[in-house]
């Protein structure tokens, strides 16, 4: 058991640290508004710089412009970026989740066309999966892609919670291509150019007042035959690959929202609070949870570096992290008072941001279902949608909601 770097890892860390030291002056600020195009451009330029130095997509295979390195190097890089107090890549979703999916399921032409510009921040990507009526039950997506005689597709429907859609060049979209088969079977994954005619992006303002994500509407958008990823009717399997990489991406960023030392520093600044038994008890309970997430993260990372794929149990860390981060923001705000809720305050931002994060990447309830069934082996909830064609299911739902 050893948390130290191996000599190779230490050498990698040193290399990264030196590069960041030499280049940090050209980095944009970590906090800026994604609604400001100048800020987005600055972040793109910074991603390009990182990519040119081999510090983006480090786990991608070399043949696609990556470094062919492992998860440990990715984490080392994240740690050094955080230490240098500079922002990381802009397109975390593209490079972390969608690019790996293209690498696994895309055609050679797709890989050759899309991966390079994605890596360099020239083309940012967004994930077009969730819909107003398909979140936890993702396979219930209703956005339709209808095949045309010339082999192209016509796309209609709506997606939601789409981070980065306002400046994305492409989206990876899960659509229903055959409503007359059971719902997991009639799905297909597409690459959608966000500047295509019929695509409309509208910002969704969140509790904080910022619009970090969007809703996206598709009105008879024409997609070429070669925009299909992973084959017609195979959309569910392709989507699962993205969700697997999503678990990894969320897992590696877990201390962004709940850092034991940031909370302790906020409490420690107030001599009365640090001697208050109730405050200390709340602090102790939160720090215990956050430390557990940190050290379980090391366990998961070790397993990952030995080639084990993270399973649904990774969801437990997310549940712990989000709830502990909420409790942390709550405690800090109790101690600091209303000033903690000033719009510019970090605790105010967290207070506003975390309730939504609870549902991101699966609600707590759906995570607990999945973990209960897949990890503990408990019997599944009875389902009313098994084996039923999607069109019939929809008809039944409509009937039930009317009566």
């Amino acid at each position: 058991m050893d948390l130290n770097d191996t000599p190779e890892q230490a050498a990698y860390r040193q290399k990264v640290r030196e590069w960041l030291e030499a280049n940090r002056q050209s980095a944009p600020s970590k906090s800026g508004s994604y609604e400001d195009p100048r800020y987005v451009d600055a972040r793109r330029a910074w991603q390009r710089r990182l990519a040119e130095a081999g510090l983006a997509g480090v786990t991608w295979p070399r043949e696609y412009g990556g470094q062919g390195l492992g998860p440990i190097e990715q984490v080392t890089l994240n740690q050094e970026i955080s230490r240098a107090d500079v922002p990381g890549i802009l397109d975390v979703i593209g490079i972390g989740m969608l690019g790996p999916c293209l690498i696994a399921h895309g055609s050679e032409e797709q890989k050759a066309r899309y991966l390079g510009p994605m890596l360099h921040g020239d083309e940012v990507w967004c994930q077009l999966f969730s819909e107003p009526a398909a979140g936890s039950d993702l396979a219930a997506v209703q956005t339709r892609a209808r095949p045309q005689e010339d082999g192209s597709w016509l796309l209609s429907g709506q997606k939601v919670w789409t981070t980065n859609a306002q400046f994305a060049a492409y989206g990876l979209l899960l659509a229903r291509t055959d409503p007359d088969v059971p719902k997991h079977k009639g799905l297909t994954m597409f690459v959608v150019p966000m500047d295509a005619r019929g695509v409309v992006v509208r910002g969704l303002r969140q509790i904080s007042g910022e619009a970090e994500f969007n809703e996206v509407f598709f009105d008879d958008v024409r997609l070429d035959a070669d925009t299909v990823v992973g084959g017609v009717g195979n959309g569910w399997g392709t989507a699962l690959t993205v969700l697997m990489f999503e678990r990894l991406t969320i897992g590696f960023g877990s201390e962004t929202y709940g850092s034991p030392s940031r909370l302790s520093a906020a409490i420690g600044a107030d001599p009365d609070a640090r001697g208050d038994l109730v405050v200390r008890r709340r602090l102790g309970e939160i720090v215990g949870e956050l430390l557990a997430v940190r050290f379980n993260g090391y366990r998961a990372l070790t397993a990952l570096s030995r080639g084990q794929i993270p399973g649904p149990e990774a969801g437990l860390a997310k549940v712990t992290m989000v709830n502990a981060a909420i409790a942390a923001a709550d405690l800090a705000t109790d101690v600091i008072g209303p000033d903690a809720l000033a719009e510019s305050n970090r605790w105010s931002y967290l207070t506003s941001f975390l309730p939504g994060l609870k549902s991101a990447g699966g609600t707590e309830q759906i995570l607990r279902n999945t973990i209960g069934e897949r990890v503990l082996g408990l019997p599944p909830e009875p389902r009313l949608d098994k084996g039923i064609p999607f069109s019939e299911l929809r008809a039944r739902e409509k009937e039930a909601s009317v009566s």
Binding site: G268, G284, V287, A292, N296, R299, E313, N369, G372, P380
Partner: protein, 377 residues
């Protein structure tokens, strides 16, 4: 980065599991509740055969020279089956004796001929400047015994309550406080003049406890730095955490098995979200306790400065985890879970007493807050 058990650690754990499986320890726990501790099997010879007494003692003195992590793995296995092995008294005591290089006692302890018991003393904190021991009752902690150093000997005056594994021990490792507030450690023969140990049983018959009184009792001075004595306190916490984790794992295992086979309204009750989510919560707390056990085990050997934080975190989280797991086990079983017909009460009793020993999980939670505040000060 390598944060997984080594092959040797896995073998050690499996060996402990195999050794303990030869005894019906859970049945014995029920028997002891009815007929007293005499109904428990004597597991000391088994522990000696397995080499546990010398686990933390250096090879030079006949021990195995293993680390904190290994002791936690064995404690976890004992907790899993509610085995009554006096490890909580043994290991912190042997760690202090080993640090003091107390040759005579060490060889006998490592050979299993002399069983020592650690008399837990809490090191000073930011709210509480002195060394303290468990009081007989109430929230005010008792002052550690007064110690007067006399050459190589120490004379001790005072008492400490609810000392794990004190009854039947041959040697007591006591931390007293000298007139000028310094901690002084001493090894006292349990039958030395002025030493008295009153055996007490509280709620969990598998847990041997004793009230220790010292009236001008004399023992050998153990010359160790205060850090060693603080580490002994935190080692005891990490051991209680490990035991609790093991017991919580059994609670979850029994609960999961039951909810798969019990049907209501035509479905296994494990298919209901109310049940599924409660057991997922048990798993979540248990996995958190395991992550912190790894932290405590690693820090105990490789990062001593963080051991107080790690052990306090492990104790606090594992204490809650076992309490929650035991209550959930009763809940999902319905009425039968609250009767002696089932094993659930045995684990529940373990949970309720364990989380009140050595200052309790509340005190560990406060210490966790203190260490976390100190890290950023």
């Amino acid at each position: 980065m390598n944060f997984a058990l080594s092959d040797e650690q896995r073998f050690l754990r499996e060996a402990a599991q195999g050794t303990l499986s030869r005894f019906k320890t859970i049945e014995a726990a029920r028997g002891a509740l009815e007929d007293g501790p005499a109904a428990l099997p004597d597991l000391w010879p088994v522990a000696v055969d397995a080499g546990w007494p010398g686990l933390l003692i250096g090879e030079a003195h006949g021990g195995a020279g293993l680390g904190v992590f290994e002791s936690l793995l064995v404690a976890e296995e004992c907790g899993r089956v509610l085995a009554s092995v006096p490890l909580l008294g043994l290991w912190p005591a042997s760690a202090v004796l080993d640090a003091a290089g107390d040759g005579g006692a060490l060889a006998a302890v490592a050979a299993g001929e002399l069983r020592p018991a650690y008399v837990p003393a809490r090191p000073p904190g930011d709210l509480d400047p002195g060394w303290t021991v468990e009081p007989r009752a109430g929230t005010r902690r008792a002052e550690a015994p007064r110690a007067s150093v006399d050459g190589d000997e120490v004379e001790l005056e005072g008492s400490a309550c609810f000392v794990p594994d004190a009854p039947g021990a041959g040697l007591l490792v006591v931390v007293g406080e000298s007139q000028d507030g310094r901690p002084v450690a001493a090894a006292l023969a349990a039958d030395a003049p002025g030493v008295s140990i009153e055996a007490v049983m509280r709620y969990d018959a598998t847990r041997s406890l004793g009230h220790v009184s010292l009236a001008s009792a004399r023992g050998r001075r153990l010359a160790v730095p205060p850090g060693v004595l603080a580490d002994a306190w935190y080692l005891a916490h990490a051991l209680i955490a490990a035991e609790s984790l093991g017991a919580a794992e059994t609670c979850l295992e029994l609960s999961v098995a039951y909810v798969k086979q019990r049907f209501t309204f035509g479905r296994a009750i494990g298919s209901y979200q109310a049940i599924k989510h409660e057991l997922t919560e048990v798993l979540r707390q248990l996995e958190n306790a395991r992550g912190l056990q790894y932290y405590a085990g690693w820090a105990g050997s490789d990062r001593r400065a963080e051991f107080p934080l790690a052990a306090s975190a492990a104790r606090a989280v594992a204490g809650h985890a076992l309490d929650f797991a035991a209550r959930s086990m009763i809940n999902v079983h319905g009425g039968i879970g609250a009767t002696w017909e089932h094993d659930a009460p045995l684990f529940f009793r373990r949970a309720q007493l364990s989380r009140r020993l050595l200052g309790g999980t509340e005190d560990a939670t406060d210490r966790l807050a203190e260490r976390s505040l100190a890290e950023v000060a």
